[in-house]
């Protein structure tokens, strides 16, 4: 009885899966050996022309022949295999034409490596909210968020690729991936983080390979690496006892960062020493007295989502200044070295978390070691990133607020 019931319930699903298109193989690859040879391509071209203009009955339609031409000319007739950040190998038999992104970082990276944003058919709701940073995405459909995805809308848009995170929200991302692959076998689900210093350069190159822009990908990866390597080299030879003591405060008062958090990693890349790194959890709340006792040499306060000022959405340096003043006025803080030396800074998570972390890390490095990084210009790096790689019309002089004091 068990099996029959399950069969009755599962059978329609099997039928449904069968009904959805099974896309495999390069269009025109008639012998199925995953190589589109010259003769296969020409046969496909003629078959298309015949069907389209001469009343013939071929199966190659316009989408197929455009993809076949692309594969033949740009991929040398062979499919592209990419390993995403979750370690899976994904094979592309056709170029991507309809992309859905759940991750703003992946979308930003796609833009940096020159992807045609017209081919992005839907974005997640957080991207939708960023009207200044993603102006061209405002009219695209909204497919919810990772924890609350609108699966029906995604399926209706018939994407050929969906971008999700690899190492955060894994259970939710795994669930979305499973459901997509079950109902539409042709969809490629790419898992990329695009916010971790350790893996980002590699991810840039892989994404560039996926969309077939190796040149642009290399250029952006070099731009990113030059900044980060510069910072790493500049701080490599500083002995542990000479490292600058940093107190990093999250959006909430007295919430700091510890070893599990990405912000701590960036502090360390910039050569800083976070005495609270050993605490448990990612964002431990510490005793205010411990900060005074620790006597940090530099204090960095994070603005952003939980403390909604600045960033791309607002141009309000005065508010950032107020936050800084409030820090300086905390009881007992006048004794802290950082306060006495005026080394108290506010930075926005838009440039320290996410795909732009290299800009924020450059600011950190400059604040921690102004002499070593005297010629490092994070502002210029930021502007170049926006104008040259992101291609958006955003003038840092008059728009947005990311650091204070500048």
């Amino acid at each position: 009885m068990n099996r029959r019931i399950i069969l009755i319930l599962v059978l329609p699903m099997l039928l449904a899966v069968q009904a959805s298109a099974v896309e495999g193989g390069i269009p025109g690859d008639t012998d199925g050996d995953d190589v589109l040879t010259f003769s296969e391509y020409t046969a496909a071209a003629l078959s298309y022309l015949d069907a389209a203009y001469m009343g013939g009955a071929g199966e190659i339609d316009r989408d197929d022949i455009l993809d076949a031409a692309w594969v033949y000319a740009r991929w040398d007739g062979k499919p592209v295999v990419v390993t995403d950040s979750s370690g899976r190998d994904l094979t592309l038999y056709r170029p991507l034409r309809r992309v859905v992104t759940f991750s703003g970082e992946a979308l930003e990276t796609l833009r940096s490596v020159g992807f045609d944003m017209e081919k992005v058919v839907a974005v997640d709701k957080y991207t939708h909210e960023k009207s200044t940073f993603f102006p061209e995405c405002q009219d695209k459909p909204d497919i919810g968020s990772i924890w609350s995805p609108d699966m029906e809308r995604i399926i209706s848009l018939r994407p050929d690729a969906v971008f999700l995170y690899a190492s955060i929200s894994t259970s939710a991302c795994d669930d979305i991936q499973r459901r997509l692959e079950a109902s539409s076998p042709g969809i490629r689900v790419f898992r990329f983080d695009c916010f971790k210093p350790a893996t980002y350069p590699e991810e840039i190159r892989k994404i560039a390979a996926i969309i077939d822009e190796p040149g642009q990908g290399e250029e952006f990866a070099s731009f990113y690496e030059s900044t980060m390597d510069r910072i790493r080299k500049g701080t490599a030879d500083i002995p542990a006892d000479e490292r600058v003591r940093v107190y990093f405060e999250y959006w909430t008062d007295y919430k700091t960062v510890a070893a599990g958090s990405g912000y701590n990693e960036k502090i360390e890349i910039a050569g800083g020493l976070n005495p609270f790194a050993g605490e448990s959890g990612e964002y431990p709340i510490i005793d205010p007295e411990a900060v005074i006792v620790m006597d940090p040499q530099v204090i960095v306060k994070l603005a952003g989502q939980g403390l909604a000022v600045g960033g791309y959405a607002h141009h309000d340096p005065e508010t950032l200044a107020e936050i800084r003043s409030a820090l300086l006025e905390r009881p007992g803080w006048s004794r802290i070295s950082a306060v006495k030396d005026g080394r108290v800074y506010v930075i926005h998570s838009d440039i320290l978390g996410g795909a732009q972390h290299f800009i924020g890390t450059a600011y950190l490095a400059k604040w921690f070691y102004p002499d070593r990084f005297a010629d490092l210009d994070p502002h210029a790096i930021h502007q170049r990133y926006l104008s040259e790689f992101q291609g958006i019309d955003f003038d840092l002089a008059s728009m947005g607020s990311f650091v204070y004091p500048e």
């Binding site: 003769s39 391509y41 020409t42 046969a43 071209a45 003629l46 298309y48 022309l49 015949d50 069907a51 389209a52 203009y53 001469m54 009343g55 013939g56 009955a57 339609d61 316009r62 022949i65 455009l66 076949a68 031409a69 692309w70 033949y72 000319a73």
Partner: protein, 171 residues
Amino acid sequence: MRGSPADRLICLILLLMLVPAAAWGATVTRTLSTAEPGAGEVFEVSLSIEGITLGGVVETLPVGYSFVGTNHADDRILARDGQVAFALINETLITYQVRAPSSGSGDITGIWEDFLGESNGTIPASHLAVDGIETEVENTPKERPTQEAAPPFALLTAIVALVIARRGGQR
């Protein structure tokens, strides 16, 4: 794309008639060795192609004129019923030979497709007349969808409307 090939063809031809052809990026021009061939004479047609790396051209000959041969590679042409398709790989010049009938006039029409550039267009028509004598374009007993004439226009418009309606219903 759904809809039978005939529907698509009709729709496309109608579209080509109604929309002025504009060549973007790529251009294809046709020249004839003679616009007034003698009866039964074999003459040459040259297509000069610019800007297409991977693409195709489909030429449609007027009634009575027949395709004889070409300099283009054998495995990249398809000739049938007064139409010839050429699969293009970087060519800039294609020539092919046509035999004129004993009498008759008409236009050679053509389309081109650029697969990498993802665009297409029409090749301006070239007029032919045997010995320079113009004849009326008539409805032949053979169904030749490539020859458009005034009387069937209304019927074709109705078919196109049906095709569009059916496709719209499937969205």
